[in-house]
Symmetry: C2
Subunit: 373 residues, 2 copies
Amino acid sequence: MEKEKAEQEEQVVNPWEVSAKGTGKIDYDKLIDQFGCQRLDKSFVDRVFRLTSRTPHMFLRRNVFFAHRDFNEILDAYERGEKFYLYTGRGPSSEALHLGHLVPFMFTKYLQEAFKVPLVIQLTDDEKCMWKNLTVEESKRLARENAKDIIACGFDISRTFIFSDFDYVGGAFYENMVKVAKCVTYNKVVGIFGFTGEDHIGKISFPPVQAVPSFPSHSIYWGMGSDDASGHSNFVDAMMRQDPYFRMTRDVAPRLGYNKPALIESLFFPTLQGETGKMSASDANSAIYVTDSQKDIKYKVNKYAFSGGKDSVENHRKYGANLEVDIPFKYLSFFLDDDEELEHIRKEYARAAVTDEMVDAFMAVRPLPNMFN
Amino acid sequence: MEKEKAEQEEQVVNPWEVSAKGTGKIDYDKLIDQFGCQRLDKSFVDRVFRLTSRTPHMFLRRNVFFAHRDFNEILDAYERGEKFYLYTGRGPSSEALHLGHLVPFMFTKYLQEAFKVPLVIQLTDDEKCMWKNLTVEESKRLARENAKDIIACGFDISRTFIFSDFDYVGGAFYENMVKVAKCVTYNKVVGIFGFTGEDHIGKISFPPVQAVPSFPSHSIYWGMGSDDASGHSNFVDAMMRQDPYFRMTRDVAPRLGYNKPALIESLFFPTLQGETGKMSASDANSAIYVTDSQKDIKYKVNKYAFSGGKDSVENHRKYGANLEVDIPFKYLSFFLDDDEELEHIRKEYARAAVTDEMVDAFMAVRPLPNMFN
């Protein structure tokens, strides 16, 4: 079972926990093997460039999105002029989004623009109510607040539907939840998600909720006849840790008469403290929030960001920085769009320990064309 | 655990299976002890008479409804002028209702009239979709068909809400499902319902769906402010085998800030073949359907009804009938309103084996004032 294998490799990756052990870094190659998805190599990036006639997003170029399932089939469908739609989501557990949260939304916005496709965004307030033990009212409130930050990423109102589960579950959506649930045994969800007998039945009921948006049965979203939608494919943009939901969904889809959703997956956005884990909304100093001021950001990066520099100026000048673990450099690789500038910094930093320079580069006043609309 | 005890006593009673073993009859005293509810004795029947100023329904007089939880508190509330509402339901697994199905609806109609209270009726099409492996469409269709037979029992349109789960789940109902689910562990539902690892997660998700109508949060049903409804009690009218759902619901209710639902429970309506089980829609010859013609009924009773008469006229004249197991007599005790006539038949039959007479009495053209509106 996936969970047992994960424990043996001493890293834990599931929708509710991400932690590396041993070397302190997530071993992505191992994760790809373990989960059974595929590496996203340069040929894909080139193909996307050819098909969309625009520079691929830096997240593709930098391999922030690095794994996939059937992305090639989505590109094939697109080439044939067939329709697909996008699905991404967020579990609204904190008031403001942090940088790690923004990664899938920035990328999804790019996909929407590049391929000119519709998008559904699921806000899993029910999930957070259950896992974080929030009240229904609080989780719904957070969902609505988060929707504002998400909208600010610049999605196309004419092609984007955002929904909160508590508001939206019902009708055709609930029918599909039941259909999915009939296809998955308790033993199966234990194997995928690691539930135990002490878990409440809400958790056990939840996986179908995250599966259902993958099925183009929401002609209700679009006002189309169901015949139009039934042949559509779905392309899911998610963090790697959500993979278990989509393995389950892909297994169930054909039994319900739907195409398997394709998937593209990103690295975890590292905490300020380093690659040992994922930026978490429950530890304010592990993250930089969209609401943090410039002063906050400078303070946090200076105080908490894990440095790949050596312990003395002498050693650093001799050996350079370890860019594998240096957090400010990693942040730049996520957000600094200019490849040349990034390469320049990489080379320079590898030979210097000027942390202030890194922070300044990160905080330079300059256009970020994909960050906000 | 309740289920293990049930297996030791060799009778099985849960929402999906009712079977007696050993003596061949359901041992109701044992069931009451095992489930932990209370006997409904004559003092209740008298009190209902005094409070409602009308003859108590024959199902109360004959102890067809024989067990309860907190019925006294409902009567106390009623005396104080406080509000309560009724909740009953049906799992729509067959096209036409049979006599056993009618019992709770006939009784609920009486309760509505006697106490002048609102009523919600839940049609669990999702449950039947999952347990009977029906398609969503088929289960919704059966729910609608059954609603017609239920309405024909004569409920008050101004105070009755009937809903199908597939149509109705969502919004406040779904919020309550999540709240209930958070309060119940997987181990707990295994203990109550006997689920196993091979059961699909739809079954495990279902108990909250049957619990939620017990909570007066459906101000949405009534257009009242939630303040009005929150203090209301709920009185559930169900078959004894549904008791496990309501034990769970009563356990959860205080944690959600609601009153525990009170419950009144009926005997199982015996199959034609005898007291060994419950009339089942999946065996057409075990049941008499509302759609059966007079000829069908006469045929079925003659051919299949288990007789309590002795095996020879001589023995029957000497010992009389065993009315404990005689099905035609039992049917009369359910449906023949006239107590004197029933007593007369009891005495006469106990000394005769005239099966035709029993059938004729059962099929006599005579008013059945509570059967249809």
